[in-house]
């Protein structure tokens, strides 16, 4: 606890100093911005570079200006002809796989693509100096999200890929939102309004129940071949059965709806979704004059015991592709480091509401005022990092959950879990 505090204040200190000086950036001797530090400088990398960047449509302009800041900050050391193209995360991953050589030098992708991109050689490994610095600034969990086996391959750029509970405050009170039973009751009381929670049909959400009761599913990835070679899975267990029962319970409710699409405040009183819904929800709330509530996922009770719904921590990562030119490699990494640094993250949050991974940014006033991110942080306590697993595992889980929901007895729930278990080996080969 103490250690954490010290670390935090260490990082906060320059930021405080900075704001006191009324400068946006602090430059070190070489003209690199704070957070850029001076590691890797055994290589003389000044010069002109063509750098292609792929980011989501929403932050294209922002990224352009941030690259400009990087260039200015370098004090003439670098000239960058940046091409920033709007490519969403799944698109970036598939395009990097299609053509790594003509692909972007820096690109944002979703965490679940990490192992695939790594195996295909689309990501350069980060050196220990970077890893240490990142760990310092973002915490070990964020760095773990960019890890394949022992090595780190990308810069975490946002942590807001997780999910939490949205609700309309005049229909669902803050207290009611804390527990599934009260939540559903509040929904029903508001006139049959629904709780939209895509738990059965989407493995990403279904896992919440299982992880809540302590089930784990860990997959081992062979570094060389990029294939999953084994797993440790406890979903088919007494704990799994508890989760299954809860899932079944949820869907017996008339107001629980297996859907993500939100009509919050209209037909839905509460919705489980991610930060990407925030803006829309907030707008609706303002327009229609009701107050938006955001909170961690509720807890649920099975056989008298209470469990708190878990979730995945979702990260988006900024990848740097391996370069033929060592100088460019160095600059790209510095740029990536800059773009994921505190100032850029804070700015990005301000412009596009991307939740920062940077601890210091997360302490900024604006972030603290953001109900969604706060709820996400709250939920973070119960969340698990999304490790590497076969994409088909989510499908498998969704199939199982769908079967469970339809089950008429606990026996059938158990049978569904058995089927799930039996199919796991096939997943190794399928992905």
């Amino acid at each position: 606890m103490m250690k954490k505090f010290i670390r935090k204040s260490m990082i906060l200190l320059p930021a405080l100093l900075l704001s006191a000086c009324n400068f946006k950036f602090v430059y070190n001797i070489e003209g690199l911005p704070a957070g850029g530090l001076d590691f890797d400088d055994d290589i003389e990398d000044s010069g002109t570079y063509d750098i292609k960047v792929w980011v989501d449509d929403k932050i294209v302009d922002l990224t352009k200006s941030q690259i400009g800041q990087f260039v200015t900050a370098s004090g003439g050391k670098y000239t960058i002809n940046a091409t920033v193209e709007p490519v969403d995360e799944p698109g970036a991953a598939s395009k990097m796989l299609l053509d790594v050589q003509d692909g972007a030098d820096l690109f944002v992708f979703a965490q679940d693509q990490l192992s695939r991109l790594k195996v295909a050689g689309s990501l350069a490994k980060l050196s220990n100096t970077y890893v240490d610095a990142l760990t310092e600034e973002m915490g070990i969990e964020a760095v773990n999200a960019a890890k394949v086996n022992q090595d780190v391959y990308a810069f975490p750029i946002t942590s807001d890929n997780g999910y939490f509970l949205y609700y309309r405050k005049d229909w669902v009170s803050d207290d009611a939102a804390k527990n599934m039973t009260t939540l559903l009751a509040a929904c029903a009381a508001a006139g049959g309004k629904t709780l939209n929670f895509e738990a059965p049909s989407n493995g990403f959400y279904a896992a919440s129940y299982f992880m809540a009761t302590g089930c784990t599913s860990e997959w081992t990835l062979d570094d060389a071949s990029g294939k999953f070679t084994g797993y440790k899975d406890t979903y088919n267990s007494p704990e799994g059965l508890i989760a299954g029962k809860a899932l079944r319970e949820l869907n017996t409710s008339t107001v629980a709806k297996n859907s993500q699409a939100s009509k919050l405040g209209d037909t839905a009183a509460a919705v489980v979704s991610g930060i990407w819904e925030y803006e829309v929800a907030q707008n609706r709330a303002e327009k229609n004059g009701w107050e938006l509530g955001c909170a961690a996922l509720p807890s649920f009770t099975v056989d008298g015991k209470e469990y708190h719904l878990s979730s995945f921590d979702g990260y988006k990562l900024l990848g740097v592709k391996p370069q033929v030119d060592a100088k460019k490699a160095s600059v790209c990494r510095k740029l990536a480091r800059f773009l994921t640094g505190e100032d850029c993250q804070t700015e990005r949050f301000g412009e596009a509401s991307w939740g920062p991974t940077n601890i210091a940014s997360n302490q900024s006033e604006k972030v603290l005022a953001h109900k969604g991110l706060q709820a996400l942080h709250e939920q973070h306590k119960y969340a698990k990092a999304q490790g590497q697993c076969p994409g088909a595992w989510f499908t498998a889980l969704a199939t199982t959950a769908t079967t469970i929901v339809k089950a008429s007895s606990d026996g059938e729930v158990q049978a569904a879990l058995d089927t799930y278990k039996a199919g796991l080996t096939d997943l190794l080969d399928a992905d």
Binding site: D40, Q101, V119, A120
Partner: protein, 501 residues
């Protein structure tokens, strides 16, 4: 069964006729094989003698040829230029130069590694750098291209020698050789087809034949995500990938063969329903519109044609979202009607999804069919109906005895192509369901409405599993080819051409 005369055949009832045709069909099979065997044998024989003659001619031409001819064996087009056919000669020579340059500067290095597809792995440094090694993909692609080039060179070289031979003969016979002007003239007249075909065939060669050839070869490699150039090499693995198709018991590849079987089955079921629902409903709509006494024919037709005009990706994607659960328009209407009780998860349940897809496909395909059928209906001679009327046929009898047989006869080949077209109907499935609902028991993230073609697509694009995508591609080809061949031999349009003429 004894051979029946035509008159005896007329005495048989339907079942007997069918039985007769049925047995005749199977009895004919050995004959097909025999014919096929003979064909193959003659082909091989001709091929062998062709090769023998080829070399014999080459040798003899060289032996008896004058020095111009002999030089032409090494410098292409030399003889032609010397004999005054400078246009041909220069073209021959240019081709040789281009070939040598291509091989020396580009193709040679790929060709040399074709047998192993590269040896040097890429190596990644700790400082974020990479040194790229051999790129198996490029080696295979440009190796194959180089092979194409070599074949082209051999052929041109042979033409060049033939030209020399002709040149010598003509000079001996004191005949006038075609001049460059004659050549150019011939290219817009007698040989105009060569001019016309040059561009289209070149395009097909490079943008269709080469890629298909490449993908067929990929089926014999281990090109997948763990052997993914340029980071990794891939190499030849022989028939291993095809072996996966037949491993039913082994747990290792079991789900691939099972998935393939199930998806193939659904592909065929889909193609059947998609083709025939469209066909019959399209016919129905066409007949309705063309019915005597129906007014505003043009309006009804235009309304349907409307939906062809809008690009499919817009209409299908929109319709797909209309059927969204629970927030699509259709569910909105359903719940409004039922007071919120009835909501259907159209894309969530395998069978509902499959049926929905077929129904929506009717919406997509019927206008097109309506046009086709209208055109043909107009061509049915009116006197057929008039005489049927006089013979006292009911509307249904007129339909089943005149319209339908006529339609089936005329549209036989069209039905076949639309069946195979539906087997490969990527757009409808991909845009409507994306193959979903995805299920665990299927290999490689395949879903319950996936067709082979969409599965192939997702294997290639999402899983970068090109080796298996190539295998599926080849299987699709085989299925389509066999179906086409068999059905083409069965449908009447190709056999009883006289029946309606």
């Amino acid at each position: 069964m004894a051979q029946l005369t035509d008159l005896e055949y007329l005495k048989l009832n339907k079942a007997q006729r069918f039985g007769l045709k049925f047995t005749a069909f199977f009895k004919a099979i050995p004959g097909w094989f025999k014919n096929l065997g003979i064909k193959i044998w003659t082909f091989m024989k001709n091929f062998f003698w062709g090769v023998v003659n080829f070399f014999k001619n080459l040798g003899l031409t060289f032996w008896h040829g004058d020095w111009k001819t002999k030089v032409s064996y090494f410098v292409m087009g030399f003889g032609s230029v010397m004999r005054g056919q400078w246009l041909r000669g220069i073209l021959f020579f240019l081709f040789e130069v281009v070939f040598i340059l291509y091989m020396a500067l580009f193709g040679g290095k790929f060709l040399g590694q074709l047998y192993i597809l590269g040896q040097n792995e890429s190596s990644m440094g700790d400082d974020g750098t990479i040194v790229y090694g051999d790129n198996s993909f490029n080696i295979l692609l440009y190796g194959v291209l180089s092979l194409f080039f070599i074949v082209a060179l051999i052929y041109t070289w042979y033409l060049n020698i033939k030209q020399n031979k002709i040149g010598e003969d003509y000079v001996k016979a004191k005949k006038q050789l075609a001049t460059a002007k004659d050549d150019v003239k011939a290219l817009v007249d007698k040989d105009f087809y060569k001019t016309l075909l040059a561009l289209p065939t070149l395009g097909i060669l490079i943008f269709t034949v080469l890629p298909i050839f490449f993908m067929i070869l990929v089926a014999f490699t281990n090109y997948d995500k763990s052997h993914f150039p340029p980071q990794n090499l891939f190499g030849w693995v022989g028939y291993d990938n095809f072996g996966l198709l037949f491993q039913w018991s082994n747990s290792e590849g079991a789900s691939f063969s099972m998935t393939f079987g199930q998806i193939l089955l659904w592909t065929l079921v889909w193609a059947f329903f998609a083709t025939f629902t469209n066909y019959f409903l399209g016919m129905l709509v066409a007949m309705l519109i063309n019915k005597k006494g129906i007014k505003l024919k043009k309006l009804w037709r235009t309304v349907l044609v409307f939906s062809i005009a809008i690009p499919q990706f817009i209409s299908i994607l929109f319709v797909s979202n209309m059927f969204q659960y629970p927030d699509g328009i259709i569910n909105g209407i359903l719940s409004a009607i039922s007071g919120g009780k009835l909501l259907i998860d159209f894309w969530g349940n395998a069978w509902i999804a499959r049926i929905t897809v077929i129904i929506i496909n009717v919406w997509i395909g019927v206008p097109y069919l309506m046009l086709v059928v209208t055109g043909i209906l107009m061509n049915i001679p009116a006197d057929l109906y008039e005489s049927a009327n006089i013979d006292g046929a009911s509307p249904w009898q007129q339909y089943s005895k005149i319209t339908l047989p006529y339609m089936l006869f005329i549209t036989g080949p069209y039905l076949l192509t639309s069946f195979t077209g539906n087997m490969n109907n990527f757009n409808v499935i991909y845009l409507l369901t994306g193959g979903g609902p995805k299920v665990q028991e299927y290999y490689g993230n395949a879903g319950k409405t996936d067709l082979l073609i969409t599965w192939l697509f997702s294997l290639a694009v999402n899983d970068t599993n090109y080796k298996l995508a190539a295998v599926i591609g080849i299987m699709v080809f085989i299925v389509v080819a066999v179906l086409s061949l068999v059905i083409y031999n069965i449908i009447p349009s190709t056999r009883n051409e006289e029946e309606f003429q």
